[in-house]
Subunit: 420 residues, 2 copies
Amino acid sequence: MTINNNHLPHVVIVGAGFGGLRAARALAGASVNVTLIDRNNYHLFQPLLYQVATAGLSVDEIAYPIRGILRKQKNLTFIMSEVKSLNLKESEIITEQATIPFDYLLLAVGSETNFFNNTELQQHSYGLKNLQEAQSIRNHILNQFEKAVLEKDETLKRAMLTFVIAGGGPTGVEMAGAIAELVRVMHKDYPGLDPQHIQVVLLEAMDRLLVHLTLNSSTATTKALATKGVQVRLNTRVERYDGRVLQLSENQQLPSNTLIWAAGVQAASLVRELSQEKLPQNRIKVLPTLQIPQDERVFLIGDAAYLPDQHGQALPMVAPVAMQQADLAVKNLLCMIESRPLHPFKYKDLGSMATIGRNQAVAELFGLRFRGWLAWLVWLFVHLMQLVGFRNRLVVLINWAWQYLFYDRAVRLIEKGDCD
Amino acid sequence: MTINNNHLPHVVIVGAGFGGLRAARALAGASVNVTLIDRNNYHLFQPLLYQVATAGLSVDEIAYPIRGILRKQKNLTFIMSEVKSLNLKESEIITEQATIPFDYLLLAVGSETNFFNNTELQQHSYGLKNLQEAQSIRNHILNQFEKAVLEKDETLKRAMLTFVIAGGGPTGVEMAGAIAELVRVMHKDYPGLDPQHIQVVLLEAMDRLLVHLTLNSSTATTKALATKGVQVRLNTRVERYDGRVLQLSENQQLPSNTLIWAAGVQAASLVRELSQEKLPQNRIKVLPTLQIPQDERVFLIGDAAYLPDQHGQALPMVAPVAMQQADLAVKNLLCMIESRPLHPFKYKDLGSMATIGRNQAVAELFGLRFRGWLAWLVWLFVHLMQLVGFRNRLVVLINWAWQYLFYDRAVRLIEKGDCD
């Protein structure tokens, strides 16, 4: 391994998500040595994770080997390892296998599911932040059908076939829509099951879905989900969940074997030690230059960084923010090396969108609002084009076409051995 | 669940491999109720399992949901469950969830890896009989590269990059060829690794590979593997393996972190209780009608069945035998119901083949022997056509074309959570 040869500055990037990967690529050709560290050997296309969880896509279609992406970048070394802690005083980071010194550090560690310290909830519900969780959800949903078909007790059967998603943000909405469509496909496989026993429920603590969009889009989304058979319950909070019955606000109960938790994320634990200040989503404050206040050599970008926009609102935890910040962090880092002044971050908001399933999406892009079939087509195209690798694009396209034409889900496989 | 309605005879089939699935389909339209039981919810195309193990194909491309295949068969119920034991006296089989009565039983349980009671070997080496094992092998091989690139000790590094396959049958040969090609792709991802440190070793206890083929084909196979960089060691047995060093016959030692065990299979444990007679591969003797001697209502087919051919040789444990036996077992079963005489099994040997990798295969089909590029094309075509489902064929074809054109392996993903 050749780290820090030629006495060039050594830049360590932690995380190969949208932000970290973009930063690594932006440093190609720069007079620095780059070490990129990730706990996995692949870059994950998180926006399509819910399609793996609902048997639409397979794992290899949304994950791409990092070494394959960066093969030609001569100034970069990739290390697959879990970073255990940061030692800024000694200018090193500690991984499972080694201690790695840095001159500059770029933290792009992303976010993880936030169960708000409710360990019972954490134990019994499913997050949706990585491939293992997506596969666990898929296995679990398919298993519920296999169990239900053998179950004679009506109450137990109903709980097996009640799929609850908590959180009405984009992840919760997309997940609910996708499960509703999966359930319809599954039903063909289980002629013995009464469709009346199956329900998909989306819970949202606030009074509307997709709060970051306009009220119009929220209302349209609720309506579209209802058409697909999703029960949307607004103003409803999950208080407790023991794996069998959900305790909801206002003393409601909902028996269900499945709770998918899309109601909270927080900055990855690795960086939470960097500051004691309590900010929303446990994010860590960064300067407008994307440096952390306590160490100018350390840049922090993406979901884990707390940076208010001109209205005092924290930037959303989405890929475009992470990628734009990666560009600026790299620019500023090179400015530092050359002793030039640094630039503040300005977010160019391209808008946002969410699919509700087949033929249905809402989009607010470039100041335009549209929904339905056109929004759905735009969503498909944008996501397809962002996937890494031509093979992945082609195979995902085939799978989508297959699902669309045949109302089928190809990956209805219960894979054992996922420690579930 | 509707089992045994209309008082039609109830046929239970255990196993949805090549034999069981074929039998289930052959019973479509017959005046019987069929229950098909498998521990998985998918039919696995085992001949391509080694390509999953070597990062060439993804899991969903060689596995197909059983309910999807049999959706339209009205007289069939599928149950996903592990069969725990057979109670022939009471005419029932005991699964994890339920006890299922039968009038006729068709056992198509297949085979499992045979470690010859060497528990140390079993613990440290990898079998290749199911999806979990294939994924474990893939994760393990890729992990060895990630570890080796960080390892400073030359001896340890060499052991990490030494991949040993025991058993020179078709599985061992295909696995060795595929690993040799994977290793060449991997090497591009690890410019820091010395190719001299990487070795792929195929061990065979007998004096030639592929003993079921002619000596000519064996010799050609050894040569083709050598060209691909596989060290073939004939007349070499594995005595012990502790996960670090292989103890071979004649006191040889071979340090390696990876042993893939393709040197033995045996009848699945479920049926081994049926007879005390010790037959090769612990198979169970069947009558020429494919019934077991102790119970005429029970048919046993495929890998687990011991039936000598006209030369007194046991039939090979391959898919064509299982499928031809499925056809006859179903025919005989219906004859029994209608009190007509039963027929003896006659195997129509279509020949056999094995790929050695890119552009290389040996085939002995319809009395013809050929090898090289043509045999390889035939192998590709035959296997592609046997896959269940048009989507699978298309996606496998794309992956194969991709690998062929770009010397790439798309599924180089280390997936966690496989309890490895």
